[in-house]
C-alpha cells in the first residue's frame, strides 16, 4: 500500500502539474515524472517487462520526441498567456456530467467482492519477458504483424509529411 500511495500521488500530482503548467517544457518534464510513476505502479502489479518497456518507450523515446519538437518549434514564445484558459460553461457541464457517474460508479466497485479480494496465486514467471513473448507470438501473432505494418505505414507517412515542398 505504501508504494501504491507514493507512486499514485506522484502520478496524480505530476498529471495535474502538466495540465496546469504554462510552460510546455515543464509540462513535458512533469509528464516524464508521471510516466515514471506509472512504471512504478506496473512494478507493484508484477509487470516487470512492461515496467522496463514503459521507461524505454515512453520516458525514453516518446518524451524525447516531444521535447525535441517543443524545442524545435519554440512554441513557448508564441503561446498565449491566457493558457490554460478556464473551462467554458458548456465544457464544464459536459465534464461534470461525465465525472459524476464515473466517480460514483468506480466508488461503488469498492463494494464488489471480486474487485477487492486479494488476487489469487499467480502463474510461474508472471509478467516476465518470457511469458509475454509466449503470449505474443502464440495467441497474438496476427495483431503483432499488423502493428508491424502500422509502424511501417507511420514511418512512410512521417517521411511524406516532413518533406519540405520547396519546388513551386
Amino acid at each position: 500500500m505504501t508504494l501504491f500511495v507514493v507512486f499514485g500521488a506522484l502520478a496524480l500530482g505530476a498529471a495535474l502539474g502538466m495540465v496546469f503548467s504554462r510552460n510546455s517544457v515543464h509540462g513535458a518534464l512533469l509528464l516524464v515524472v508521471n510516466l515514471g510513476a506509472i512504471a512504478g505502479l506496473f512494478l507493484t502489479l508484477e509487470a516487470e517487462f512492461l515496467f522496463v518497456a514503459q521507461i524505454i518507450v515512453y520516458a525514453g523515446a516518446i518524451m524525447v520526441l516531444f521535447l525535441f519538437v517543443i524545442m524545435l518549434l519554440g512554441v513557448d514564445r508564441s503561446e498565449p498567456l491566457m493558457e490554460p484558459r478556464p473551462l467554458q460553461r458548456r465544457q464544464l457541464t459536459f465534464a461534470v456530467l461525465i465525472a459524476i457517474p464515473l466517480i460514483a460508479g468506480l466508488s461503488a466497485t469498492f463494494a464488489i467482492p471480486a474487485l477487492t479480494a486479494s488476487p489469487g496465486a499467480l502463474p510461474e514467471n508472471f509478467g516476465s519477458p518470457e511469458a509475454l513473448g509466449q503470449k505474443l507470438f502464440r495467441d497474438y501473432l496476427l495483431p503483432f504483424e499488423v502493428t508491424a505494418l502500422l509502424l511501417l505505414v507511420a514511418a512512410i507517412g512521417i517521411l511524406l509529411l516532413a518533406r519540405r515542398r520547396s519546388e513551386r
Binding site: N34, V69, I158, A162
Partner: protein
Amino acid sequence: MSAPVAPPSNVADRDRTRSGKPLLLGLVLLVLVVLGVAIAVRNEPVTTSHYLMLSMLLFMIGVGGVLMRRNALVLFMCVELMLNAVNLAFVTFARMHGSMDGQVIVLFVMIVAAAEVAIGLAIIVAIFRRRLSANVDEMSLLRW
C-alpha cells in the same frame, strides 16, 4: 499613480519574477502528507478498485487537459496521459485475473501510441511551418 508596469514579455520572464519559496514549501508539505498517509495505511491491502480509481482519475485529468489547453503539443501530452491511464487499468486487470493477455494489449497500446505521437508531431511541425502557430483554435480550415 505610478507608471503601469510593463507585462512580462514572455513566460520565462514571468516565471522568474515569481518567488519559488511558497511553491517549495507547499511541495515539502505535500510530500510529508503523502508519506504520512502512505505509512498510516501501509497494512491495508491494496485492491483492484484502488488501481481502477487511480486510473480513472488520471484519465479524467487527461480529458480535462484536452478540454482546457489550446497548445497542440500539450494536447498530445494529455492524450498520452489518457493512454497511460488505460494501460494502468489493463495491467491491473491482468494482475487480477493472473493472465498475461492484458499486458500484451498494453504492449500494443504502447506501439500504437508511438506511431500516433510520431505522426501527430509530424503534422504539428508541418502546420507550424505554414502558420507559425501550434494553437489548435487557429486550425479551423476543415470547419464548415
